[in-house]
Homo-oligomer: 213 residues x 2
DNA sequence: GTCTATACGTAGATAGAC
DNA sequence: GTCTATCTACGTATAGAC
């Protein structure tokens, strides 16, 4: 039932969510419990009955709130992508396109989200394959746009001469990838705040991109 | 049945494995098919019947080769961790402890494995939670040792003054994390060879660690 | 080693009363 | 909205013949 710490997909042990992201009442409660169970055991190893029990209802009642188990997952993944995209977009104002400051702000927002809301980030990044194409589509659009924001920032910085990398796409994958993994290892046992990690990783990203010192 | 490209957990579309890693005959064939199915759909969404059909046998026959579906996964994950650990250990000779060359060699080995054998790397890193503790134990030992190799390298490099980072653990998570993600995005559609990526990421790691230029 | 046949539990989802 | 009861399909695994 309980997975040993070293084998868990995520180290975090509390469900945290962006304020106001979820609906009130039972529908919201179901999403919270689904987030916890899907992140820990995976979508396919969590049954409707598991989810209902954790939510304090019977399995049949779940269907008055969501048409299927897949729709519950889809809603969580969509909300996760939206929160992520919103955070990145909010990081742009106040920074010049293609500046080192803009890249630092984007990385900080990316990593902060992964550290503050690791369950949400983990599900959004690891369970998308379980959705039918129609339910995955909104998240894919947001994901493509978030990615483009970061790639544009790297490319414009290269044009402006503030960065120095042989291949901008590889820099993107490295910077984005190290941030995504934070959702897996960050937990209450670590001595860092999410802000600590976001700042450190932003500095790493600037070094990696060869930003002028 | 088939997952759209943008939703797949891994971009690779061919099963590649270190030469000689798997047994010959039917037992090996089962592992190859399990690798493909588990990596694509996940352990819990692949049934014994799916696996048997892909292997060219009936589901009952599978039990003459492995005692359970979980044992098939355990074997794959163990082999993956062994291949990874062996590759890291083989990178050490010829480099001085704590040197920038050693970190570069370790990162190159790490990333090369993730790019050459993405299915194996992906499963080893994302399905460990599905194993009972007894079956996961051998892999956990190898994982801890691999991690320590990299952490020692960073710490000794700091002592020697060849690196410059405020927090070695955060550098470790960033360097290891960006490499692990390569298994997810690298595929035949990208214009890079695994060696290209390994070299680029090794350079990124040195920059990130503040290696003297 | 491989098969056919099957046991037995649990999965997702629905019917209809309250 | 929530329940009890239930449908039907599929899950892992086993029995026993060849």
């Amino acid at each position: 039932m309980t997975i040993p710490a070293e084998q868990r997909r995520i180290a975090a042990d509390e469900v945290r969510l962006p304020p106001g992201l979820l609906p009130d009442g039972r529908s919201g409660r179901i999403l919270v419990e689904a987030l916890r169970l899907f992140a820990e055991y995976g979508f396919h190893d969590t049954s409707i009955r598991d989810l209902a029990k954790a939510s304090g209802i019977r399995s049949a009642t779940l269907y008055t709130h969501y048409p299927s188990k897949e729709h519950v997952l889809a809603e969580l993944i969509r909300l996760g992508h939206e929160a992520h995209h919103t955070a990145l977009a909010a990081a742009l104002p106040g920074t010049a396109p293609g500046s080192a400051e803009r890249l630092a702000a984007l990385v900080r927002a990316h990593v902060l989200g992964c550290a503050r809301y690791p369950l949400l980030a983990s599900i959004a990044n690891s369970e998308l394959h379980a959705l039918s194409p129609g339910l995955a589509a909104p998240s894919l659009l947001l994901r493509a746009d978030s990615r483009q924001m970061m790639l544009d920032t790297i490319n414009l910085g290269l044009d402006a001469g503030v960065f120095d990398v042989p291949d901008p796409f590889l820099a993107l994958t490295a910077i984005a990838g190290m941030g995504i993994r934070v959702a897996n290892w960050y937990g209450s046992a670590t001595p860092y705040t999410p802000e600590d990690i976001a700042d450190s990783y932003a500095a790493f990203a600037l070094r990696l991109a060869g930003a002028r010192a």
